[in-house]
Symmetry: D2
Subunit: 158 residues, 4 copies
């Protein structure tokens, strides 16, 4: 997708990401940052904090999922059409620990009609070792990201 | 599992859950509460907070995953043998909204050798409507939950 | 589903299964047999034949998948609305060998709008040991099983 | 993997595939053919036959799975270490019809210790359209493909 992306599509992807991110409470709460956006693609990072550890004192798999799922969301919403996850599958390969910087990269495998499939790889930024492989299926719903945010804003002001 | 659980196994499951919960930073950060524990089973609840919403203003799928994954963890660790998730799969059925109380219930489908499969259903507590279906595969690792916590505690004091 | 199924729904499920089975070339090629049908449920059996073995001389995982997937199809089509699989996930627990009789049982976990989720357990008939756990997501498409077969039959005669 | 594969590794992968294929009853029954083998990679083809159709007269999803799963097997066994599938996940994108030639290509996403993850894409050979996306998790077991075939041959003669 990325190679052939027009400047216009790239600008739309970036604007859409900015609009989503401004309201993405969960991403902010987790300290997730966007490092790259393109049509159908996204790269996000998150640092493993003490409050992300589980009872075994390794990073909660759910936190790794959250980073992957968020990256998936930015990739599948990059056309400014609202899309949500209908199903996700994750394989955990190696544990992550407190202080690790995790980098998640999403690529679009297929997008046809309302349905897309995206693969997200979560890596340790320091060593590039794969921590988890995530596959998400997206479903396009009504509305656009940027306009719906305006609408939601209007509604909130009433 | 539950029906045939001896009083001893039930006590062990409860003690193990208490030990895990005392150190489960992620669960505390999300306001997750344990409502029932038995060998191979667990029921946990979580209320959808504003900071759990995504850019579409519905509960982040990753937060629903976190609840399901945490419930899975309590079920598969209930024998006091350390176990971690090796793979998870989730299907999202209907969205959850701010203020919804979500209840996740885990049942053990199979446990053989080091590997188990657990099914977790996340429901809206108010209506019992299923929000998500989660299937997790567990892998037993070295150590026990209660002893490893002691060990970790000792290590931390040094 | 089954408990509350009216006699009418049960009859429809059985008629639908008969109509599907009469045209199910793959099921016949594999020697699959239907042992029970109810609304949202199905039980099918298959005996592992020499031509179902893989290069390791155990039953090809794909053959176990086929049995599970077929059982899924009979369960999700049991309302006489055409439905197809959109995604499937299978965990292989223990190998099956030549001569083993496999029994697959499908239960409906959820059905809402056009989408359903079904869990299929494949067991060794002799010992009831679980061989594989399968989860399938169905999507309702146009047409009904019994009418579409009539239509297809008409078309074939022209 | 492929780029860096030594001539020796490539030869081993090809020999291993030949040894597996000579005993792969299921592949032969389905008319599956191998078109390319490399370390961690495989490309196989299958033509949709009338006996591969389901009750809706489209190619049985289980047959598409079988092709993908077989391709997965050749990729994950390409190092001549016996490996079997522990879990598989498939998303069906578009239906395939009688006479379609399906091409499945497997790539290794990760291989660490005894566990690997492989992605297989099944396409219509004529149009390159993706029919299904498959992700398989492999588990290395005892023995080697080529030696175990010898052993099995010896055992069979007794």
């Amino acid at each position: 997708m990325n190679q052939a992306a027009s400047a216009e599509a790239l600008t739309l992807a970036e604007s859409t990401a900015r609009a989503m991110f401004s309201r993405d409470s969960a991403a902010h709460a987790l300290g997730i940052q966007i490092t790259e956006i393109a049509p159908g693609q996204a790269t996000l990072t998150m640092t493993v904090r003490p409050d992300m550890l589980n009872g075994h004192r390794i990073c909660h798999g759910g936190m790794i999922f959250l980073l992957a799922d968020t990256t998936f969301a930015y990739a599948c919403n990059s056309y400014n059409h609202n899309a949500v996850a209908s199903a996700c599958q994750i394989d955990f390969l190696v544990p992550a620990h407190e202080g690790d910087v995790l980098e998640a990269h999403a690529v679009e495998q297929t997008l046809s009609g309302k349905t897309g499939v995206y693969d997200i790889t979560v890596r340790l930024a320091a060593t590039r070792e794969a921590v988890a492989l995530f596959r998400g299926k997206s479903h396009r719903i009504k509305g656009t990201v940027i306009e719906s945010l305006h609408d939601a804003g209007d509604a909130a002001q009433k």
